[in-house]
């Protein structure tokens, strides 16, 4: 069962800007097993998307990976040449993006966009590709697939486009699916449909899913394991139930607490004060220290390490590690 499909080790990604080089992702390590949904959560700007784009080497022009490995079935794909990496994209790792409407080419029929992938990777002929595309459209739960095949993206609703994106991602039977906020642009009822579909697909083909979101509700419902990021670093990772039951990192705690809960009855919502620091203005020491109520002097001086607590659990906090050490 637990075959590591994708493993990221010590990934550090930087951006060249006019002033200096900014580190958007620092020393991130995680893995995705077969048949598993791993959630990646964090506030806006915490480096979730950069992490996923680094995996596929689709960073914007000014971004580069300065360190680390991305192992896909034990091969480091960071060492591949352009051609080989292109062979992997779409066929081994597929990706779904946040905004389905803008992620489809507006001037090409959706069917053709679907066909491209299989013609390239599975060497389908036009006819085969078309049949396959229609089959995929059907699979993602769209009735009248032939009709949809011939439509342009603007003729689809948001939910339909996202389903097309999923069909496209899955059409070459990838091993890993990276979904970067796949439902943020959608409504709750449609979101429910799409998440349902992803779960279904995962179960059917036993793929590994890296689900990026900032919605803790989605994480709670979908994921097996969760990784929490803050300022480009992993601050905590755990099995989903552990994390929600017993969040260790003050950031995780704050995050979970500030989600409004139906029926909680409380009048004032707890919240995390302050704001995510700008990449160019990173505090020394723990990046969360300025917003942390429990911060001690050490937190402002020295950056804590990510401590392995038990086999599924990691946390990056002086308070926790001290407590842990004391406990140990």
């Amino acid at each position: 069962m637990s075959i590591k499909l994708l493993e990221v080790k010590n990934l550090t990604t930087e951006f060249k800007t006019d002033k200096k080089s900014l580190t958007a992702v620092k020393n991130v390590s995680f893995y995705v097993n077969q048949g598993e949904v791993v959630g990646l959560v964090g506030e806006s700007g915490s480096g979730k998307s950069v992490t996923s784009l680094s995996v596929l080497r689709l960073l914007p022009e000014n971004g580069y990976i300065s360190e680390g490995e991305v192992l896909l079935s034990q091969n480091n794909i960071l060492n591949l040449d352009q051609k080989s990496i292109r062979n992997i994209r779409g066929s081994e790792i597929a990706m779904i993006f946040q905004d389905p409407m803008s992620s489809l080419n507006p001037v090409i029929k959706v069917g053709e966009q679907l066909m491209e992938c299989t013609m390239l990777h599975l060497k389908h002929t036009k006819k085969e590709a078309k049949a396959h595309a229609i089959e995929m459209i059907k699979q993602v739960g769209i009735s009248a697939p032939e009709d949809v095949f011939n439509r342009y993206p603007h003729q689809l609703s948001g939910g339909m486009s996202q389903r097309i994106m999923i069909a496209m991602a899955l059409s070459c039977n990838p091993k890993v699916l990276i979904a970067d906020e796949p439902t943020t642009a959608l409504d709750v009822t449609i979101q429910a449909q799409v998440l349902d579909l992803i779960t279904e697909m995962k179960e059917q083909s036993n793929i590994g899913v890296l689900l990026i979101t900032h919605d803790l509700g989605v994480v709670a419902e979908m994921c097996d394991r969760v990784i929490v990021m803050y300022c480009g670093r992993i601050v905590e990772s755990a099995e989903v139930s552990c994390l929600f039951e017993n969040p260790l990192h003050p950031y995780t705690q704050g995050l979970i607490a500030s989600v409004p809960k139906i029926g909680s009855g409380s009048d004032i919502l707890p919240y995390i004060k302050g704001r995510v620091p700008d990449l160019s203005q990173m505090p020394i020491g723990c990046k969360f220290a300025p917003r942390c109520d429990g911060a001690i002097e050490k937190c402002f001086i020295e950056e804590p390490l990510l401590i392995q607590l038990d086999n599924q659990r990691q946390c990056r906090c002086h308070l926790v590690s001290e407590r842990g050490e004391r406990n140990a």
Partner: protein
């Protein structure tokens, strides 16, 4: 009965869908016969999926759009046919806060000018007095004097939303129409802004029309909730009532679809089939008939009217 501040009577609005290349004009039916009241001092929330006409409803109250049919009453005045000139004093009594804190502030103006602009329009205060007032307001929403001379782009989303709120407060309005004021914000900031809304309401006795698509947020802030679907108000009632006893099948699906941030509480979700129809060609009969699991023949023929199902609980469904 409580005093009514705003009343919408059977309001309709449609937009020309695309103009340039049309032979036959097509219209987006944004709101189709919406009626409700907002009472003084309460928070009425409007929820619904994207494109269902929430913002259009908000705009109709502020007369940012001219409605096609129906009436809008504000503070016992029928403002339906007011010109923009006549709206000026009315607008000082109702202000808006917008969803997109990035887009709703003029990027070319300093914060103090943005915040004090309503004063420039509605009062004869001197520049100095206006800036003084702006400063006070910024302090109320948790920003400080040092921010006055900056431009909007120098602020984070949460801060910008505070600026927007400060601007809305400058002329002591009675009503604030908040059009998805927190949906663009991260959860941690969202919580702060929601708290601010509640605080201000208490302090200034404000009435809110709070538009949102997030039922968990709405639950925290509202007194009553109206649910919209495809330009129709399908259910409206007190908050507790809605969460306890949703009557409309759409409300039920909506409530069940909210992901709960607690893996322990895995519940049964109602997964609707199909997509929201295009508001250009609405389905005949009940607007929800394409996705409803209890659909009956009648639903394909007659548009259900909003009816009182229980005291203060109105719903538009043939099944009830």
């Amino acid at each position: 009965m409580r005093e009514t501040l705003v009343e919408l009577k059977n309001v309709r609005k449609q937009f020309l869908a695309s103009k340039k290349f049309m032979e036959e004009k097509k219209y987006v039916k944004a709101i189709n016969g919406v009626s409700f009241e907002i009472y003084k001092g309460e928070t009425l929330a409007i929820v619904g999926e994207s494109g269902c006409g929430k913002s259009t409803t908000g705009r109709a109250i502020n007369k940012l759009i001219d409605i096609d049919e129906g009436e809008v009453w504000f503070d016992h005045e029928n403002i339906t046919n007011y010109s923009s000139h006549m709206m000026k004093p009315v607008r000082s009594k109702m202000q808006m806060v917008f969803q997109d804190p990035y887009g709703s502030l003029n990027p070319r103006m300093k914060i103090r000018d943005i915040v004090s602009e309503p004063l420039l329009v509605h009062t004869n205060l001197s520049k100095k007095e206006r800036y003084q007032k702006a400063k006070e307001l910024l302090e109320i929403v948790g920003l400080n004097e040092g921010h006055l001379r900056r431009y909007a782009h120098e602020f984070s989303g949460g801060q910008r939303q505070r600026i927007g709120i400060a601007r809305a407060l400058t002329v002591n309005p009675k009503l604030i129409i908040a059009d998805e004021p927190v949906s663009a914000l991260d959860v941690s900031i969202q919580a702060q802004v929601i708290n601010l809304f509640k605080e201000l309401q208490r302090e200034f006795h404000l009435t809110y029309l709070f538009i949102s698509h997030d039922l968990s947020v709405v639950e925290h802030i509202s007194d009553r909730i109206g649910v919209m679907y495809l330009g129709h108000l399908v259910e409206i009632t007190a908050k507790e009532q809605l969460y306890k006893n949703p009557l409309h099948p759409y409300t039920q699906a909506l409530l069940s679809a909210i992901p709960i941030a607690d893996p322990a509480k895995k519940k049964k979700r109602i997964i609707l089939k199909g997509d929201i129809p295009n508001p250009i060609d609405l389905p005949v009969g009940c607007p929800f008939n394409t996705r409803c699991m209890h659909v009956q023949d009648k639903c394909y023929k007659i548009v259900p009217q909003l009816q009182e199902a229980a005291s203060g609980h109105k719903v538009a469904c043939h099944l009830i």
